[in-house]
């Protein structure tokens, strides 16, 4: 399986990337970590005329804290996030999710921005960004846009990103002391795409939950939330009844897409179990608090 012939450029400046993209349009393809694109090219499922490699663009790199915001450059690799103390401190959900992403050799190349740009419904980062109320910062020759994760994933592998736009970074509000976070997923084999996964966050006021965000992996055709289940939990005390109630609401709310070996019904069951387990894991810590 050998890729079709194409040209390759490695600009050093973001504006060069934007110019090339505007100039070549859909004939050009952005190369971030390449862990999806290159497999697709090896299989000749795409024949771009030009690859624009962004590895040399320093504006797209680095993790930083600005005020109450954690900024993740588009070209930051999965491994950088996995091993970052900054992330562990300010977005522990990401640290928890990182080790579920494929395998080390892929995490060393694959990038946060690349993962967000594809919006794979089975991938970890898009769901985490949803759960964390993240914002995607995109740039084009026309200027900069900031898009809430809630508005970004518009369909199966389709996002709000315009053809001439490039993701430069994602911004995440830093974790608060009274914020609960949980990442769980079920995969047949370690590192496989999840059958079902859940990235959940909530703010605890005493024993009451608020601002509950449940972001699901492998359920819809996009990374998606379950507003009704969230609603069932907001302003509720965290206890067995509220959990059971939320699980019931969730199972009637979602209509998961089947995969090769798991039916809609099975995924519905599994999603309920994940929600129960995530919330239960919070209970102990709350009671102890």
């Amino acid at each position: 399986m050998k890729a079709p012939a194409f040209s390759y450029l490695r600009p050093r400046q973001l504006h060069e990337v934007l110019k090339l993209l505007a100039e070549h349009g859909d004939e050009a393809r952005l190369l971030a970590g390449g862990q999806t694109l290159l497999a697709t090219l090896n299989m000749r499922l795409s024949e771009p005329a030009l690859l624009i490699d962004m590895q040399a663009v320093s504006e797209l790199k680095g993790l930083s804290i600005a005020g109450q915001t954690l900024r993740i450059g588009a070209m930051v690799t999965h491994t950088e996030i996995e091993t970052s103390d900054l992330v562990a401190q300010h977005a522990p959900l990401l640290t928890a999710a990182a080790s579920h992403i494929a395998h080390r050799a892929i995490r060393n190349m694959g990038t946060f921005g690349g993962s967000i740009a594809y919006g794979d419904p089975a991938a970890e980062w898009p769901a985490c960004l949803l759960a964390l109320s993240g914002v995607i910062v995109v740039r084009s020759l026309r200027g900069e846009r900031r898009i809430a994760a809630d508005d970004f994933f518009t369909g199966l592998y389709t996002t709000d990103l315009a053809p001439d736009e490039v993701i430069v970074a994602c911004e995440i509000p830093v974790a608060q002391a009274n914020q609960k976070m949980s990442f769980t997923e079920l995969a047949r084999r370690h590192g496989d795409y999840a059958v079902v996964g859940l990235a959940a966050t909530a703010t605890m006021l005493g024993n009451k939950m608020s601002n509950v965000r449940l972001a699901w992996i492998g359920v819809g055709s996009t990374p998606m939330r379950s507003p009704q289940a969230e609603q069932a939990l907001n302003d509720q005390p965290l206890n067995a009844q509220s959990v059971a109630q939320a699980v019931e609401v969730l199972r009637s709310e979602i209509a998961p897409l089947p995969d090769l070996t798991h039916s809609e019904a099975a995924k519905r069951q599994l999603a309920g179990v994940l929600l129960k387990r995530a919330l239960t894991s919070w209970m102990s810590t709350v009671e102890n608090a």
Binding site: M1, R189, H190, A266, Q269, V273
Partner: protein
């Protein structure tokens, strides 16, 4: 040959590794210092440095690369092939269709005369006007580089008309299902019934009768190195050399000679390093013949390396069975009878040359194999489908027969409320009852079921495990223990293929030569695929001749350099090849002693050989190093008496003739935890007690068993070739066809009972497949043991979370 009784003790139980106790070998091997030792393989440093030589690592002058346009659908009539655009692409040397290749390669029909009534249709290197499965080669594009060939492949335009297809084995014989080869009359490739008599009576008088239906998914081997070869035909000499990733080089030599009408002596098959085979690389594939044909037509070397996607649709598949099983027993726990009705779906053709009938035939032969019941009835239908052809893959029917047998035994145990281990103890053939004949008619030389079960009980500390299981169940944690007792067919005689007319050698040979330097070179017809064949041949040679392993070099995998033989399959390498090496080594020892006697002017009987030197038989005093003996024999024969000629190169052959097969036996146990909310299964631990006769290298045997067990677990939990209703493979990539990875696999503890076979002096039986044979049965039984208190059961492999959730009633 049959070795004298005095060589053997029976059932000497192994203690823990590394050195199981076995019957001592006879003089001059009684003080063997290599056989039986866990010695690391001497020849793998190069593999550990990435310096092996796999076929794709080889480059020959003027070498071209071939890629194939394969049928994208299950069954179609090829209406036109447009090649001109592809021909004009850069680097392209030729574009061929099936008719081009058929002009120089004869078609084949894969049947065996001892599989009564088996039928198939003529098959060609590439489809002529009809493709019968998704992945059948139709057009070949040859170019100077692989990338150029793939570039041109995109410009090959094939038009076709879909033909109705047969894709479901359960309906393949229905009158409304299209017949794939009308000239054959129906889609039945092979069928067999077996009835010992007394079955109905047994079921009538039984206190308990249990029935279950067992399903097994289609598997494929997924060797990490895909199938590959370089065919190099020299028009000047008429010599065809094929560098092949293959298990049976002499078989391929014979087939290439016959299909292309070449003299056998003009065909040379070379197998260097092989990146995994497991039965996938013991067959003759259409694209093998196509690659050779193209080399002949182009008069230059041609390399074919299957890419991973085409591997999934062109490598053989196996194991797709649907079996209704019944078992009858008394309330005292005596098993009275087994009955099975097996349907298995193969491809549109029986696979060349071993046929696709053998696997189902094995299921019939092996079901109920470990037990002493007398009544048995079996029915088998092997049906053609428009899916990838199936054939022998590691375990060949064993994993299916074992899972059905052991599943039924566990169901009886549950119904009787009897401990499943106890039930097995009461019903296995007693260790002192051999030689014996199984209910299916199989001849069993000598087995050790009772000893293996006893050892398993202590190895896994069964009582403690039961206590833990009970305690955890009280907490709502569902763990299960599953057993699988098994027999494995190894060391086949001619019964397997030769008597059926397949030109596959049942005999293997070894040629041992003392080099002037004192080193020993042994050329063996059984090759290395990673099992450690060459390592154990070195061990055997070292002991047989009396030389250090470091002084032994093994040569395999070249039809022009080694004796003729069958190769590596049916767990025959150690048992058949090893015995040939042993006999050649002993013969060389005798000849060395003769030469030594002459040089030293002593009676050879007062001499012995140790550590590469001739020594005094009594004192052990070193008298003559091999290097000195070699110098005299090769360079100063003038100093030897007239009429005496040193014969320092000898060849010996061995074929197992005492029985159709030499069976091994063993028992496996699995300990699992089932998440009753998600249906996910965690493998906690796995045990195997194996009796493969003489253990030549315990470390290598254990690693064979572990690897085989994990391959078996793959089938039990993960692996299945999924097809849609149109006969199209929908998970044909490494991401979607789930092979076991390190994260989910358990640690595996292995112990041995050693009951050497008397059919050879070495006493070794095979060990390559028993792990795969027993693991699925043990794991599925463990899962069902965990599910039993929840009143759920799953008998369909692979056991997925979906199936468990259904069984638990969580989902419809």
């Amino acid at each position: 040959m049959n070795a004298p009784e005095s060589y053997f003790l029976r059932h000497v139980e192994a203690e823990a590794r590394p050195t199981p106790v076995a019957a001592p070998l006879a003089a001059p091997l009684q003080d063997a210092s290599h056989i039986g030792q866990a010695i690391p393989r001497p020849n793998i440093e190069r593999l550990a440095q990435g310096r092996g030589q796999y076929v794709d690592d080889l480059e020959l002058p003027r070498m071209a690369h071939v890629v194939f346009w394969r049928s994208p659908v299950a069954h179609c009539h090829i209406t036109s092939i447009e090649r001109d655009f592809a021909r004009m692409m850069p680097g392209v040397l030729a574009v061929y269709d099936g008719k081009d290749l058929a002009t120089i390669c004869k078609p084949w029909v894969a049947t065996l005369s001892h599989l009564a009534g088996i039928k198939s249709a003529p098959q060609y290197p590439m489809a002529l006007d009809r493709a019968c499965w998704q992945g059948e080669p139709v057009v070949a594009v040859v170019a100077k580089t692989r990338a150029e060939a793939e570039d041109a492949l995109q410009y090959v335009q094939v038009t076709w008309e879909d033909l109705p297809s047969a894709v479901d084995m359960k309906t393949a014989l229905h009158p409304d299902t299209p017949v794939i080869h009308p000239e054959l009359g129906d889609n039945l490739c092979f069928s067999r019934t077996l009835d010992t008599g007394g079955v109905d009576e047994a079921f009538a008088r039984a206190d308990v009768v249990v029935e279950a239906t067992f399903d097994f998914g289609r598997h494929t081997g997924v060797t990490l190195e895909t199938r590959c070869q370089i065919a190099d035909y020299s028009p000047a000499s008429g010599q065809l050399t094929v560098y092949h990733s293959q298990q049976a080089p002499h078989m391929m030599q014979d087939l290439y000679a016959r299909q292309f009408d070449l003299p056998e002596s003009s065909v040379r098959v070379i197998c260097k390093d092989v990146g995994g085979s497991f039965g996938i690389k013991v067959h003759a594939y259409p694209d093998d013949f196509a690659t050779v044909a193209i080399s002949i037509l182009l008069k230059r070397p041609v390399k074919f390396v299957a890419d991973r996607l085409e591997s999934f649709t062109s490598d053989i598949h196996a194991r797709e069975h649907h079996i209704k099983g019944r078992i009858a027993a008394t309330s005292a726990g005596e098993i009275l009878a087994f009955e099975i009705d097996d349907t298995t779906g193969i491809g549109p053709y029986s696979m060349f040359p071993r046929t696709s009938g053998i696997e189902g035939n094995q299921v019939v032969n092996l079901t109920g194999g470990p037990y002493k019941h007398k009544a048995y009835r079996a029915k088998l239908n092997v049906v053609f489908l428009n899916k990838t052809p199936t054939c022998q893959y590691r375990g060949v029917g064993h994993p299916v027969a074992c899972a059905v047998t052991e599943g039924l035994v566990d169901l009886v145990a549950a119904k009787l409320g009897m401990d499943p281990l106890e039930l097995r103890k009461r019903n296995v053939m007693p260790d002192d009852s051999y030689p014996a004949t199984g209910a299916s008619g199989i001849k069993l030389e000598v087995l050790s079921h009772e000893a293996c079960l006893r050892k398993m009980e202590t190895l896994m500390d069964y009582p403690a495990l039961l206590a833990e299981q009970a305690a955890l169940r009280a907490q709502g944690i569902y763990r299960g223990i599953g057993f699988a007792t098994l027999i494995e067919l190894t060391n086949p005689g001619a019964a397997f293929y030769g008597v059926g007319g397949a030109r596959i050698s049942a005999q293997d040979g070894a040629t041992a030569r003392l080099e002037p330097s004192g080193a020993v070179t042994v050329m063996v017809s059984v090759g290395e695929q990673g099992q450690g064949t060459e390592a154990i041949f070195s061990q055997i040679t070292a002991d047989a001749v009396g030389v250090a392993m470091s002084q032994v070099r093994i040569v395999t995998g070249d039809t022009q350099a080694t004796p003729y033989g069958g190769g590596t399959w049916a767990s025959r390498g150690a048992g058949i090849g090893g015995e040939a090496v042993l006999q050649a080594g002993l013969a060389l020892r005798t000849n060395i002693l003769k030469v030594a006697g002459v040089i030293l002017k002593r009676d050879a009987s007062t001499l012995s050989l140790k550590q590469g030197a001739v020594v005094d038989a009594d004192s052990g005093e070193a008298l003559l190093p091999f290097a000195e003996l070699g110098r005299v024999a090769y360079f100063r024969p003038d100093t030897l008496p007239a009429g005496f000629t040193p014969e320092l190169m000898v060849t010996r052959h061995y074929a197992q003739r005492d029985y159709p097969f030499i069976f091994t036996n063993g028992v496996q146990a699995s300990y699992v935890e089932v998440d009753s909310e998600t249906g996910f299964v965690k493998l906690l631990k796995h045990w195997a007690v194996e009796d493969c006769g003489r253990v030549i290298n315990p470390m290598l045997v254990d690693e064979q068993i572990r690897g085989a067990i994990v391959q078996g677990i793959g089938g039990a939990l993960f692996e299945e070739c999924l097809y849609d209703a149109a006969g199209l493979l929908i998970n044909g990539s490494m991401a979607d066809y789930l092979v076991p990875m390190a994260g989910e696999m358990p640690d595996i503890t292995i112990a041995h009972i050693e009951t050497p076979t008397r059919s050879s002096m070495l006493g070794a039986k095979g060990a390559g497949e028993a792990g795969t044979a027993g693991a699925p049965g043990a794991v599925v039984n463990a899962i069902n043991d965990a599910l039993r208190p929840l009143k759920a059961a799953v008998w369909s492999q692979p056991v997925t979370p979906e199936k468990i959730l259904k069984a638990l009633g969580h989902i419809p």
